[in-house]
């Protein structure tokens, strides 16, 4: 019997589409439901980060860092601050380091909650999304308590923090952690173990370690492929070497190692590990210490350049800063993890259905503000 042959259709997914996580446009070449080629078209959410950074003083760049990856603003600010501090050789007070780790890990949980929730939304489960956002709101409450803002904080400054945490913050964080651990069990009950969800996510968009490394995929997406690279562990920055935590890797429990389900579940387990780190950091947090004592009066890093990378919620966030000795950086380049993570979608998404492409995109957890910068 001769095979029926139909013409391929080009389908524009986005820029206005419910599940492209922002304003991403995917040009799909489809044969019926099967997608044979995916071309991401980006640039609809350009933040002009580099141009801003060329014209602003070092401290003024900090709020723009958070605006790139708006779901993990604390992590972005943390990376930038550490890069400039390393250039200037600033020694930080202990309390600042611990608070920064607490905020970065809280932000990781908040970001992963969005990732997990929206992944559920992408495969059609609406309710877990709302549960995830409920917990995220509690984290944002903590951030609001400390920094005064709920989404874009400008809290981690070069050489310290904008201000100390208020009294009651530590207790409230403990309270959140106690609550959070039971909530994760609930997500597992409603979504992780759900047979339909497993069918939708397992064996879909399998990313082999080779592909992941070749495309520069980092973060949970890389670890889901079984590659044990977590900058907090392999190149401990800040004070991450003081904490005990596991690096969750994809194990292929429901399908192949590196499928969408693994990418989802690595995030779920990473949230638990982050909660562990926060608990340890809270236990060890020094009571005394001025968080502003190390903030330099004039931020003029010496001539030179630096590339500093840190493990943000989405992966390896790098800052390349060139200084000419003035108070305005010559260049600040951001190496955004989501950009590299998105680039792999054509490789791993070919041959799957439209619904699967949505699931793969959701499992890669991209933020368009960071991709376009």
């Amino acid at each position: 019997m001769s095979r029926l042959h139909a013409e391929e259709m080009v389908l524009n997914m986005g820029p206005q589409h419910p599940s492209t996580h922002g304003v991403l446009r995917l040009k799909l070449r489809t044969d019926g439901e099967i997608v044979s080629h995916i071309e991401p078209v980006i640039g609809y959410l350009h933040r002009s980060f580099e141009k801003h950074a060329e014209n602003l003083e070092y401290q003024m760049v900090t709020p723009f860092c958070g605006r790139c990856d708006y779901l993990a603003a604390m992590g972005s600010e943390h990376g930038y601050a550490m890069a400039v501090e390393k250039m200037m050789g600033i020694e930080l007070p202990e309390r600042v380091e611990y608070l920064r780790v607490i905020f970065a890990e809280l932000q990781r949980i908040a970001s992963h909650l969005v990732a997990v929730g929206t992944f559920g939304l992408d495969v059609g489960a609406i309710t877990p999304f709302i549960y995830c956002f409920r917990e995220r709101e509690l984290i944002l409450d903590l951030f609001e308590m400390a920094s005064g803002a709920r989404l874009l904080y400008n809290y981690i400054w070069i050489g310290g923090l904008a201000h100390d945490v208020p009294p009651g913050f530590v207790e409230k964080t403990y309270e959140f952690l106690d609550n959070f651990e039971t909530r994760v069990a609930e997500y597992n009950q409603i979504l992780t173990g759900n047979k339909i969800f497993i069918e939708r996510a397992a064996d879909i968009g399998v990313m082999t370690p080779e592909v992941a490394i070749n495309y520069g995929v980092t973060g949970p997406s890389l670890r889901a492929s079984g590659v044990n690279i977590d900058l907090r562990r392999t190149q401990p920055y800040s004070i991450y070497d003081r904490f005990e935590f596991d690096v969750p890797l994809g194990e292929g429990t429901q399908g192949t190692i590196g499928d969408s389900w693994d990418r989802y579940y690595v995030r779920v387990r990473e949230m638990e590990e982050s909660a562990r780190i926060i608990r340890q950091a809270l236990d060890q947090l020094p009571v005394e210490g001025d968080v502003k004592s190390a903030i330099p009066r004039r931020i003029r890093p010496p001539k030179g350049e630096i590339y500093f990378r840190s493990e943000n919620a989405r992966g390896e966030l790098g800052y390349y800063i060139v200084s000419n000795g003035k108070n305005v950086p010559l260049r600040v380049k951001m190496r955004s993890p989501a950009f590299s993570n998105l680039s792999v979608i054509n490789e791993i998404g070919q041959g799957f259905m439209i619904s699967d492409v949505i699931a793969i995109l959701g499992s890669l957890d991209i933020v368009l503000g960071e991709i376009d910068r």
């Binding site: 409920r134 803002a149 400008n154």
Partner: protein, 307 residues
């Protein structure tokens, strides 16, 4: 066999999920909804030691300036990454008393205009720490809606009022006084610049004379040296440079920053100026700032034509 275990597994896990949703369904009191205008989010309150305002806490919303304490140092204006603060200061007269701040500092500059454009503010809170007198603060007032905007008969032209309502003038100095001060300052600056220019011109003349003299001397020796001619031109260019910068001193810095700050404004433009596909807008219209009145009239006429 895996066929049947698959089916039982599916049914079992689906029932697990249904247990969770039913658990919440029978406990509707655990809801997290906040019915906004009736209930408001409890703002975490604490004084973080900035300023005397007890109400000030970490919530970063509307910027408020205690203008009586302002010494016009423009530290906040320089710290703002988006240039949404525009300050206009003028030196007081020699024996004019401008008062003292609550910290006891004597005010030497009259803040004639202190404009904060909250529609451009990005709430980064970088302007408050540099203030030496703690007079600029972020207040927890996040409700910017005013009743004026709720009127139903808002024309496209009036839509710009929404933005204008977000531009706060904190200075108590009246517009006429501001103009007076400006004229005064301009006159002083002009006089200074003229004096400077005169001085420069004299110096230039002297240099020219000297050069002419030297040239004459060199002509006498009938030897033309190109280096001397270069020095002449260099001195000329230096003098004109000084002239031009001197005249620019008179121009108020805030105005320059205003023009600079207006570049991000067109982001808000589509609200009023939705381009129609049938009648392409002239390219000049797109670039013009939203403050220009003829640009505002365009959408109204278009809408009335369509209607």
């Amino acid at each position: 066999m895996s066929y049947f275990s698959n089916i039982t597994n599916a049914v079992g896990t689906l029932i697990e999920g249904m247990k969770v949703t039913m658990g919440y369904f029978v406990r509707p009191r655990e809801h997290v909804t906040l019915q906004y205008p009736d209930e408001v989010w409890p703002i975490p309150t604490r004084n973080i030691g900035v300023g005397e305002l007890d109400a000030y806490n970490t919530i970063r919303s509307k910027l408020v300036v205690d203008i009586d304490d302002c010494i016009g140092c423009k530290a906040c204006e320089r710290a703002c990454p988006v240039n949404c603060i525009h300050i206009d200061t003028y030196k007081g007269g020699p024996d004019e008393d401008l008062g003292t701040t609550s910290n006891g500092t004597k005010i030497k500059l009259l803040t004639a205009s202190f404009i904060i454009d909250m529609s451009e503010c990005m709430f980064c809170d970088l302007c408050t720490p540099p203030c030496p007198e703690d007079c600029i603060t972020m207040t927890p007032d996040y409700q910017f809606i005013s009743n004026d905007n709720l009127k139903m008969d808002v024309t496209p032209e009036q839509r710009w009022r929404d933005r204008n309502l977000l531009i706060y003038q904190f200075s108590k100095v009246s517009e006429t006084e501001r103009q007076q001060r400006k004229a005064q300052a301009e006159a002083i600056a002009k006089a200074k610049a003229e004096a400077l220019a005169l001085k420069k011109a004299e110096a230039l003349k002297a240099a020219e004379d000297k050069a002419a003299l030297a040239a004459a001397e060199e002509a006498v020796t009938a030897k033309l040296d190109p280096t001397s001619a270069e020095t002449v031109s260099a001195s000329e260019s230096v003098s004109t440079d000084i002239n031009s910068t001197g005249s620019e001193v008179k121009v108020d810095i805030p105005i320059a920053s205003v023009t600079l700050a207006e570049t991000p404004v067109p982001a808000a433009e589509p609200v009023a100026n939705t381009p129609e596909p049938e009648t392409p807008v002239a390219p000049g219209d797109d670039i013009s700032t939203p403050d220009s009145s003829e640009n505002l009239e365009d959408p109204t006429t278009k809408e009335s034509e369509n209607g």
